[in-house]
């Protein structure tokens, strides 16, 4: 049976998976927790929590600087984590994996260093209307510094990138195209392979913001054909404060360092400093060692279940949720792209998303209400904010039913 087929979704043992996540046993306001805010951050399986504890209990030391046994063990664990990330993204070489604080830092790193050396006056950076602020503001900063121009590719009312209009923005001045793989506010899965192909035809480099992809669908950076890929550990069941940037070695090699300090140098004199090789050139100072080790255990956890099967489970749940929410009068889904990921964002007539969020919270249902760090997108949709339920591998039809029931309560309050 090929992975991702309907029957693999049926054999997906969600009850067993739920037992891996201790926090899901919690009660909130006296009700069982129904956690539907996975796009903000995901919960952590016991394997990750235990791995962090074991690191601090048994292995903790600084890396790359000690001759003693613990330092060697910590360095080995950190290096092994990098190799795990490489495998997870199907990157060609572990030297192309830079540990960072998260997606935001990864994008800032590229915008600042690649931008400083490759963006000039009159050059253009292309983003889309559905980007997260963290894939807009770093490029605005880089454009301001260089005198370059930010161009914005439009989307359809359903929340899909308008590929024709995107293509028209591409020109010989286009230096970089920065686009999310999956939209955190709409769930749209962007055709990143096609985007990369078209951008490359115009000589631009392509950065993919994978924050909302890595926990929900298989990612293969070489198949995508992009140049940079960024993600956050905390959105893929790992710890906060760690994430990774993948970049093509030849691009990373040509980029100046992001920060200066220890570990990123080969030799320092007051006259001249030689930088370290990849990836250490971009990892100044003591990194988040425990975070990287914890992230690796999270990626191992996900890989053992299989992202194809996770995607199939979430797709099934997304269509169940779409049907359930569509039955609620006055509710309108924002983001209805075919094949979208597990994001159910919506507005309800005459009820502000913030009020929905408060009422749902008292029913134990955790969702997010607001602009989701996508203020330009909210403007495009013509709403100040939306309510958003976002799914992960441990969510069930019962969770979606609890959401729908709580929404009916909210409607009753405002009837």
């Amino acid at each position: 049976m090929p992975a991702g087929s309907p029957s693999s979704a049926q054999t997906f043992d969600v009850a067993r998976i739920r037992r891996d996540f201790p926090i899901l046993q919690r009660r909130v306001h006296g009700r069982p927790l129904v956690y539907l805010d996975n796009a903000a951050t995901t919960q952590k399986p016991a394997a990750v929590v235990d791995r962090l504890a074991r690191y601090y209990r048994e292995e903790n030391a600084n890396i790359h600087r000690g001759v003693h046994a613990l330092s060697v063990e910590a360095t080995d664990a950190y290096d092994a984590a990098r190799e795990t990330v490489r495998r997870f993204l199907n990157a060609g070489d572990a030297r192309e994996i830079v540990f960072v604080r998260g997606t935001t830092e990864a994008i800032n790193l590229v915008a600042a260093t690649w931008g400083r050396t490759h963006l000039g006056a009159g050059d253009e950076v292309v983003v889309t209307e559905m980007e997260h602020h963290s894939n807009i503001v770093p490029w605005q900063l880089a454009c301001q510094a260089a005198g370059a121009r930010l161009r914005v590719a439009p989307i359809t009312d359903a929340g899909e990138l308008r590929l024709d209009a995107f293509e028209q923005l591409l020109c010989p001045r286009t230096r970089v195209v920065a686009v999310n793989h999956v939209s955190n506010a709409l769930g749209t899965v962007n055709p990143v392979k096609e985007i990369a192909r078209r951008a490359h035809a115009h000589g631009a480099v392509v950065l993919v913001d994978g924050a909302q992809a890595v926990a929900h669908l298989p990612v293969d950076v070489r198949a995508i054909g992009c140049d940079f890929y960024a993600f956050s550990g905390h959105k893929v069941f790992g710890p906060t404060g760690v994430g990774a940037l993948w970049g093509r070695a030849e691009l990373l090699d040509a980029m100046p360092p992001y920060q200066g300090g220890g570990d990123m140098i080969r030799s320092v004199t007051f006259e001249r400093t030689l930088y370290n090789e990849l990836p250490y050139k971009f990892e100044a100072g003591t990194p988040n060692i425990a975070g990287a080790v914890g992230l690796a255990s999270a990626l191992d956890y996900v890989a053992a279940i299989g992202l194809d099967r996770i995607a199939a489970h979430e797709h099934e749940l997304t269509s169940y949720g779409t049907d359930a929410l569509s039955c609620i009068g006055g509710l309108r889904l924002t983001g209805t792209a075919p094949g979208k990921a597990g994001i159910l964002a919506f507005v309800i007539d005459d009820i502000h998303p913030h009020d929905i969020g408060t009422i749902l919270d008292r029913a134990g249902v955790a969702i997010r209400a607001g602009h989701h760090c996508c203020q330009p997108l909210m403007g495009r949709l013509g709403v100040p904010a939306t309510a958003r339920a976002s799914l992960a591998l441990y969510n069930t039809r019962e969770d979606v039913d609890a959401l729908a029931a709580a929404l009916r309560d909210a409607k009753a309050v405002f009837a």
């Binding site: 502000h352 913030h354 408060t358 309560d409 009753a412």
Partner: protein
């Protein structure tokens, strides 16, 4: 539904949300714009100060959640005719009420007491106080934008 929710979304609040009072633009006076970046609530408070230093007329416009809209509506009702100093004192007492201990006694604030339920929802305090912060900015004829952050 929990008692706390019933208390928060009581009839007065729902009514002011549905039919906000003084929901219009006022020409020729002072105004200020308020913004709550957390939820995107955005409102403008307009006022006219009469010759005796009293708030002769006050109104608001904007979009927001039920709490911020009802609070703005109730605020305009309660400060109309007050002196600038009285309005400032009312804001202080209102702020104390919505940030006070969940089970403490409630000050006598007339209609504004309808918002006492906010005490049990700390994340909604900014929604309830946005209109008041904006009123203060308008009183100071501060044309810039205030935020709740």
């Amino acid at each position: 539904m929990s008692a706390e929710l019933d208390d928060l979304y009581q009839e007065v609040i729902l009514d002011h949300n549905r039919r906000p009072r003084n929901f219009r633009r006022l020409e020729g006076g002072q105004h200020a714009e308020g913004f709550n970046p957390l939820c995107g609530d955005r409102l403008t408070v307009y006022l006219q100060i009469d010759d005796e230093g009293r708030i002769g007329d006050v109104s608001f416009q904007g979009s927001g959640c039920a709490i911020s809209k009802a609070s703005a509506s109730l605020m305009t009702d309660s400060v109309k005719g007050a002196t600038v100093a009285e309005a400032a004192r009312l804001f202080d007492r209102f702020q104390q009420m919505i940030t006070g201990p969940a089970d403490g006694p409630i000050d006598r604030l007339g209609k504004l007491e309808a918002l006492a339920g906010v005490r049990r929802f700390p994340v909604r305090v900014k929604c309830a106080s946005l209109a008041w912060h904006t009123l203060r900015a308008a009183l100071e004829a501060n044309e810039g934008m205030v935020t709740t952050e």
